[in-house]
């Protein structure tokens, strides 16, 4: 490493912005698709686990095991099936990590619905479907979204590990910087990944405010 090499060379950023931008787009796709897929799968699985309690413990145990597997190892094991440097190789494991966080969140969220609320809904003549959509799910929103925040932020930071198998979005900047012993791409990568995570986190918080107007009304009352 040459002495006096600054941590950030601003002109590098200016010259390379187009390629950084395409890495950024790739990164966002690989980070967000697993979370969206995870949420779509976790909702029915979570509902099933609440309805049939026996299902819950095995599901959680399996998810715990999945969650403990190092991402790089899972990427590698998938390569023969999905190919080197393919988006799917990164997206599939990240979907499972998202599920591991989201299924318990959905179950806990639905478990947080107070009994008297559920009974009131029944007494008012709500059928099971209407009760689920209009009472249970809205009340579960804060807990589910808390899980979604964790899943989203870790998904965004995990994508970069994919750079080691040739498909890691902004993670490529780390490989590039290391190979050329050059700080700037590494710093740019860390800053962008972290900023992306903070931004996504903020968007979910905003969504939560919009989806649960009663929480704000109660606080200001």
């Amino acid at each position: 490493m040459g002495d006096g090499e600054p941590l950030v060379r601003w002109d590098w950023i200016g010259r390379n912005w187009p390629s950084v931008e395409s890495l950024l787009v790739d990164h966002v796709i690989m980070a967000i698709v697993p979370v969206v897929l995870g949420l779509i799968i976790a909702l029915p699985l979570g509902l099933a686990s609440v309805r049939w309690r026996l299902l819950y413990q095995p599901t959680v145990s399996v998810m715990n095991v999945v969650y403990s597997l190092p991402s790089l190892a899972v990427f590698i094991v998938l390569i023969p099936l999905t190919g080197l440097a393919e988006r799917a190789t990164v997206i599939i494991p990240l979907t499972f990590y998202a599920l591991a966080v989201l299924i318990p969140a959905v179950v806990d969220g639905l478990g947080a619905v107070p009994d008297h609320v559920r009974q009131s809904a029944v007494a008012m003549g709500f059928g099971p479907m209407r009760r689920l959509l209009q009472v249970d799910l809205p009340i579960a929103v804060p807990v589910v979204l808390a899980g979604l925040r964790v899943a989203t932020v870790s998904s965004i930071s995990l994508v970069s590990v994919g750079a080691l198998i040739g498909r890691g979005g902004l993670g490529y900047l780390f490989i590039d910087g290391w190979q050329r012993q050059f700080y700037t791409p590494i710093v740019v990568g860390i800053v962008l990944v972290t900023a992306l995570a903070v931004l996504a986190d903020g968007l979910i918080i905003l969504a939560q405010r919009l989806l649960t107007p009663w929480a704000r009304a109660r606080r200001s009352a």
């Binding site: 597997l69 964790v150 700080y183």
Partner: protein, 223 residues
């Protein structure tokens, strides 16, 4: 599957400095050292913040940073800054990434202890330090162990990634295998790392059973 047989069936892979036993031991050694350092830093800090309830902001920042910071980027940057060549600089990012889960869970564990329990301990004449060690820590132990488990698994995973910047251990098979297109060794290394992570998970489940007081885990019903 044939790749696995190629890798594990090759007797050359079972001996020497690049053999599976040596690499596994290396991996365990780095992980234990990194975990020990992060425990020395994070547990006292978590106990202090949880007990005095000062500096909680630090915990929130640590918790968020831990999830958002990209591991690979941190590893590459720190090693480039500190200098390449010896093993020890590579351990810095491992320690840095293991601190937040331990710190956050220790803090949450201590803070979450029932207020009545804390009052009762003081009422019985225990002093601050005694309350902490005799009441708060045993009650918070499940969460503290959970933090250690998350950290340990994180360290095993990060040590694998850190093979990219020259750390030994099982990650070598993955990184070197990818570089030389030797897929049997890449996949074999990945399977070994996954197994190690599962064993760590298992060890912590056992620790939880042995260490947590029966009164806290409620395995013994109190009438």
């Amino acid at each position: 599957m044939n790749w696995l047989i190629d890798f594990f069936g090759n007797s050359a892979n079972w001996s020497g400095p690049d053999g599976i036993p040596a690499r596994l031991l290396e991996h365990i050694e780095f992980s234990v050292v990194a975990l020990a350092f992060s425990m020395i830093i994070a547990i006292p800090l978590g106990l202090l913040i949880g007990h005095t309830r000062r500096g909680a902001v630090l915990v929130v920042v640590a918790a968020n940073a831990a999830r958002a910071l990209p591991t690979l980027g941190l590893v590459v940057l720190i090693v480039l800054l500190v200098g390449v060549g010896t093993t020890w600089p590579v351990l810095i990012p491992l320690v840095a990434l293991a601190i937040p889960p331990i710190l956050v869970n220790t803090y949450e564990g201590i803070r979450g202890v029932d207020e009545d329990l804390r009052d009762a301990a003081y009422g019985m004449g225990l002093r601050g330090g005694q309350v902490l060690m005799k009441v708060l820590v045993p009650v918070a132990l499940p969460l503290i162990l959970l933090g250690l488990r998350i950290a340990a698994i994180q360290v095993v995973a990060t040590a694998t990634v850190a093979a990219y910047v020259g750390l030994g251990g099982l990650g070598r098979y993955i990184i070197d295998g990818l570089a030389t297109k030797d897929f049997p060794s890449t996949i074999g290394g990945a399977v070994l790392v996954a197994l190690l992570a599962l064993i760590v998970q298992l060890i912590f489940s056992l620790l939880q059973r042995v260490m947590v007081s029966p009164g806290v885990s409620q395995r013994v019903k109190v009438r």
